[in-house]
């Protein structure tokens, strides 16, 4: 029991964190590396502390967070809807899927400048860039999930005279949920990237915009501080999705395996 809580608890990751940042600090100081090349963790903490209170920084966090969440919602919802249509209609699959895949293989970074031209330097272009990235994981997982129902469960339903709609509602939809949540989890993390890419291409506000500014000014500690905030946002959003997932798909254990062989 003791080893289990030791293995499962936060102690081990904290230990690696301490070693990593401690080593980083030590190397920068011992080798006398200039801050402009690699700032020590202590100066990043100072920079972070300094910016947290500033209105500019807080506004940037709000803007980027809004782009991430709105873009994620738009992309995920479209992916979900198109996924249902394609999974349920072989005709729609033949008509649309090749083009969806072709669109997916297109690097979104390359498309981003066009979207900025079409939708301007404001929030809309960032939301749409984010949506194009969040779209595909939901689409692919929804299609796969709706087709993942075990044949014996469908046979069971049919033997009790279930209609196609009843099989869909009572089995296919439920069996698709774990897949859909995998898609949501991937999409929310990619959405952070989407919003930053959008801001890099052209923006007037946001963490990506702030990051560029700090970078141009050779404020390396400030740049690293923003990177830290971005990864923190990613981790929190990911954890939020997992929290909802555990509530909705309560019959699966955390490893994602169905806890029942039936």
């Amino acid at each position: 029991m003791k080893t289990r809580s030791f293995m499962g608890g936060p102690l081990l990751p904290i230990l690696t964190g301490c070693l990593f940042f401690g080593g980083w600090e030590a190397i920068v100081r011992l080798l006398d590396i200039p801050t402009i090349v690699l700032p020590p963790p202590s100066s990043i903490v100072v920079a972070l502390w300094g910016s947290v209170g500033s209105a500019d920084f807080q506004w940037a966090v709000v803007v980027t967070l809004y782009e991430i969440v709105a873009g994620f919602a738009l992309g995920a919802l479209s992916g979900l809807i198109l996924g249902f249509i394609i999974a349920l209609s072989p005709l729609a699959e033949r008509l649309l899927y090749p083009y969806v895949v072709a669109f997916q293989t297109l690097p979104k970074v390359a498309v981003a400048p066009i979207i900025v031209i079409w939708f301007g330097y404001g929030l809309n272009s960032k939301i749409i860039i984010t949506a194009t990235i969040a779209f595909f994981p939901l689409l692919a997982n929804t299609i796969m999930g709706l087709r993942a129902a075990p044949p014996d469960q469908i046979d069971m339903m049919v033997s009790y005279t279930a209609s196609r709609w009843q099989v869909f509602r009572m089995i296919r939809l439920m069996q698709a949920l774990p897949y859909i949540f995998v898609g949501l989890d991937v999409a929310i993390v990619l959405s952070v990237i989407g919003a930053i890419v959008g801001e890099f291409v052209g923006a007037k506000a946001g963490l990506g915009y702030l990051l560029m500014q700090k970078n141009f000014n050779f404020d390396m500690a400030g740049t690293f501080a923003i990177l830290f905030v971005l990864s923190l946002i990613g981790v929190i959003l990911h954890a939020a999705v997992r929290l909802v997932q555990r509530r909705v798909i309560f019959w699966m254990d955390t490893t994602g395996k169905q806890s029942l062989s039936a």
Partner: protein, 276 residues
């Protein structure tokens, strides 16, 4: 040695059973086409009359088509030829008059025990209050009172299969079709389940068709044992079991029981191994 029954297809005299047959299987065949275009007979010329209240075991080695036959009767597999009638009316698909118990319990992990038993009631849009009362009563009968709100993952394999049996009975079907329902259970649990099935059958006056690969199980429970052999899957003999009821496990050690078992085993000497 080829017995007479093996050479002659078993055809019941239609005049004799017309009034008492609850389900009539007449000339049912199932053929598959292999990739090379070769025709494989999974089932050939199956004739069987099932009387109301009867307990029939179908026994045979794997590949004899016994599960295929059950799936066809359940309406989840199409037959290639032949007629199935139920109370004189043609059976063309799944029917509310049937309850199916599968090899695995096939419970839905996101539903509670009670909700799982209620699945047929929900599908058939039957009266919910009556259905729930019957579901609770059935769960009580198999010793699962107090487990209504548990989830399948909290139950043992034997308990899960009991829930599966309750689900097959909740809409009060005339015939219970069981496809090797206890195959995955250990020997001890299996014996207990056999006792329970015997009790359910006598208390509920159901007609039961049980597919099994266990010869003792087949004899222990059945009024008639249907023997099937593979390539092509066909019925080679139907044996009446005249052992008194209720049957006990001790009966399996009697000479009469041994004679039935011996008679069944004769058919399988040249075939795959049997657990018995």
């Amino acid at each position: 040695m080829v017995s007479l029954a093996q050479r002659l297809p078993i055809r019941p005299d239609p005049r004799e059973h017309r009034d008492i047959a609850l389900m009539r299987i007449a000339g049912v065949e199932k053929t598959y086409l292999t990739r090379d275009g070769e025709e494989v007979h999974a089932l050939r010329d199956i004739h069987l009359d099932i009387r109301a209240g009867e307990f029939i075991s179908i026994v045979g080695p794997s590949g004899c088509g016994k599960s295929t036959l059950l799936k066809i009767l359940a309406g989840i597999l199409a037959r290639s030829r032949g007629e199935i009638t139920m109370r004189g009316r043609a059976l063309t698909g799944p029917s509310r008059d049937l309850g199916v118990v599968f090899q695995a319990p096939v419970l839905l992990p996101w539903l509670t025990v009670l909700q799982n038993v209620m699945v047929p009631v929900k599908i058939q849009r039957a009266n919910r209050t009556e259905g729930e009362a019957r579901a609770r009563e059935l769960l009580g009968m198999v010793g699962l009172s107090g487990f209504e709100r548990k989830y399948p993952s909290e139950l043992s394999g034997g308990m899960q299969q009991r829930v599966g049996i309750c689900r097959a009975l909740v809409h009060d079907p005339a015939i219970l079709l069981m496809d090797e329902p206890f195959g995955a259970l250990d020997a001890m649990t299996r014996e207990t389940m056999n006792e329970e099935l015997q009790r359910i059958w006598s208390e509920r006056r159901k007609t039961i068709l049980l597919v099994t690969h266990s010869i003792p199980e087949a004899i222990h429970l059945a009024d008639r044992v249907v023997v099937m052999t593979p390539r092509p899957g066909r019925i080679v003999e139907v044996i009446d079991v005249d052992l008194p009821r209720p049957r006990t496990l001790d009966m399996q050690n009697t000479p009469e029981f041994g004679r039935y078992a011996g008679r069944l085993r004769r058919h399988f000497h040249s075939h795959a191994t049997f657990d018995a």
